[in-house]
Symmetry: C2
């Protein structure tokens, strides 16, 4: 199989033949449908199916990937193989080219309908930093942290596609030293740079998904910005965890990168000590060498390394289902903030500005402790792809709008 | 308007003309559809619509109430008025009676598709008791508890209809005094007797739902059993709240009681001191005089009084949306365990058996600290209805099955 597409591709951008992520797009006045990114084009799979070029059981003429995600690993691989063939074999060019649309001419929509949304807390550096700030008089990592991937359910109904305006949330908060809580717009609005995976194939109630069955259930990966209002969160979170400090918005990237495209990015995760209980052990290395980049108003704010995450995606999935909770198509699992050991590798303002105490200076000289109205946060990621290439997870972006009066 | 139906009704059972709750049912070999309970019958609204007896914009020939729930308050009231007329005016009897089906001949299904599921913690007695047990060295109520209705997101995908078998969950737990956590079936399986409300009409992103708009958005109330594995929960919950200790199963009752049916049950809630922030104030009394009854294997275990809840349903809804998170049709909000001040009014085994230390003796002499395999938990509730009647919220029931090997 050739490793080069007849579509002209800027390899540095990461949308080459080794990637082929899925998304949902619409042209003005037309119905949404499923496409695959190649270079700066979208391959219209609904049109390709109508032309008899790809097999389709009504997966692609759809406003979400859910129908295709439920089809399972064999269908995913068969379609990936077929699209690869069509985009690399020059003899198909005449029939395929009419179905390539410039990305600039389409609107990218939320790629899938979210069933349940779970957010983990799997970066040791992030959890340690957050523990120091939120619980200064205690051990930064709670006793359970290295025993299980700590996580909680978030709000599925506020998972938005990249580009959705983020309205600054209002709510109840109590500043340190204040006797009384007050109501008003969050004064500590934050982003969290995360990576998520989405389930395609459901699992049976009462049976967990072992780490070795990850690929049979998970369709692909997205970038996630788990927007957070730190002042609301700090006041509300005891004893039952975050609620309104998180539930106003979570943004995901437009393109879902198939698990198969990330095989070349797999690396050994950090050594886990103590050794986890058997249900959390994993025979294969499932660290992922994704290099994240966070920009605020175009200025690089951080470069968090996903390979440093303590708990891996298959461990997160095995844990979330070990109690018999079944998976549904569209279940989204986010990693938690990705933070590396260095200051410029931290994945949220809480850490970058050390709880407001050490402003982050951006390359252009502007400073931030938390986000201001008008700020645009864009998270991107690149990873090793097949054939020595680089692939991208695309981007998730959002601009902060003032609180509603 | 007469207050008596021509359908023979056992008034003590609570399914009289003042109730008229909605559900989804199926007869063997037929498609599910929407019905209303009257006495020991289901009025088949899909068939009534086909016969031109009720107005219907495709609400009722459906496997869920969601299409009807989104139609809004005027449609809900119009249908309630029409069904009341049909069931009280003897002149309709000949045309309506063919569409009354014995409840015993149908299967009652999950009444609506759950969008997001939020669980509150709004009983002062429960929160105080739980605080004493889980955090014995701290104030039982956290500093935020009387300032806002503490809550968190639960797993929508495991909200099951009444009658669904509850498989004992396995997971990670560490007993007090144990150095290491272990894996295995929960040893502290519990129920939680709760009351929930379900949203029908969505709200706009960025705008909260004020307490005064509760009736414009909320379709009705159900009984909830928020099954809990206390050992999993205790080990996992810091710092981000409950996860696997709750996510294996939540059961809801088959009948959704319209808000309109509960008008006669409204009472003043407990005095709130300190006075809540303005967004949580409510001009109207929204305590609800629901008398819950919990039975274990048919034996009365507790009678929790819902009227004792500190935070009311409109306050919970206003709080959950104050950050701009929009409502979706099917959003379910549960009250948290309903516990009164007396021991026999406590709504979960954790409290009834005081964390395993004081076994609960049931009327037949059997004892329980937590639930055993084979135990059936049934929660019922009654409330004052219109015309001096009593209405019921029906029941939510479930039997504990052994953990999967």
């Amino acid at each position: 199989m050739t490793t080069v597409s007849w579509v002209e591709v800027d390899e540095a951008a990461g949308f080459g033949i080794a990637n082929l992520p899925y998304g949902v797009f619409a042209r003005p006045g037309e119905l949404p449908r499923v496409g695959v990114a190649i270079g700066d084009r979208v391959l219209d799979l609904a049109a390709m199916s109508a032309a008899g070029l790809v097999e389709d059981r009504r997966y692609f003429a759809s406003g979400s990937l859910n129908a295709f995600m439920v089809a399972g690993r064999l269908a995913w691989q068969a379609n990936r193989d077929r699209v690869t063939e069509l985009l690399t074999d020059e003899s198909y060019r005449g029939r395929v080219e009419p179905h390539l649309i410039p990305v600039a001419d389409v609107e990218l929509l939320r790629p899938f309908e979210v069933a349940d949304y779970v957010d983990f807390y799997s970066s040791e550096h992030h959890a340690t930093n957050a523990g120091r700030m939120f619980r200064p008089n205690a051990e930064p990592l709670t006793a359970n942290w290295k025993r299980l991937p700590v996580g909680y359910h978030g709000r599925a109904g506020t998972v938005y596609p990249s580009g959705t305006p983020i309205i600054r949330p209002s709510g109840q908060r109590r500043a340190p030293g204040d006797a009384e809580p007050s109501y008003g717009p969050s004064l500590r609005l934050d982003f969290e740079a995360e990576v998520g995976f989405v389930a395609g194939v459901p699992s049976a109630a009462g049976r967990g998904v072992p780490t070795g069955a990850f690929r049979d259930h998970v369709f692909g990966f997205v970038l996630v910005n788990d927007w957070s209002a730190r002042d609301l969160q700090a006041w509300e979170s005891q004893p039952l965890g975050p609620f309104l400090g998180k539930s106003f918005a979570t943004s995901i990237s437009s393109w879902v990168v198939p698990v198969a495209a990330l095989e070349a990015a797999r690396v050994a995760p950090p050594v886990q000590d103590p050794v986890p209980l058997p249900y959390l052990r994993c025979d294969e290395p499932w660290g992922l060498d994704l290099e994240l980049e966070v920009r605020i108003n175009g200025q690089v704010a951080a470069r968090p390394p996903f390979a440093s995450m303590y708990w891996t995606s298959p461990q997160q999935l095995a844990h979330a289902t070990v109690n018999g909770a079944p998976l549904r198509t569209g279940d989204l699992f986010a990693s938690g903030t990705v933070s590396g050991p260095e200051r410029d590798q931290r994945g949220c303002m809480l850490e970058l500005g050390w709880n407001g105490q050490q402003p982050l200076e951006l390359p252009d000289g502007t400073e931030r402790t938390f986000l201001e109205d008008g700020d645009t946060v864009t998270i991107r990621a690149q990873a090793p792809g097949a054939f020595g290439s680089r692939i991208t997870l695309g981007e998730v972006t959002g601009t902060v709008h003032p609180a509603q009066p």
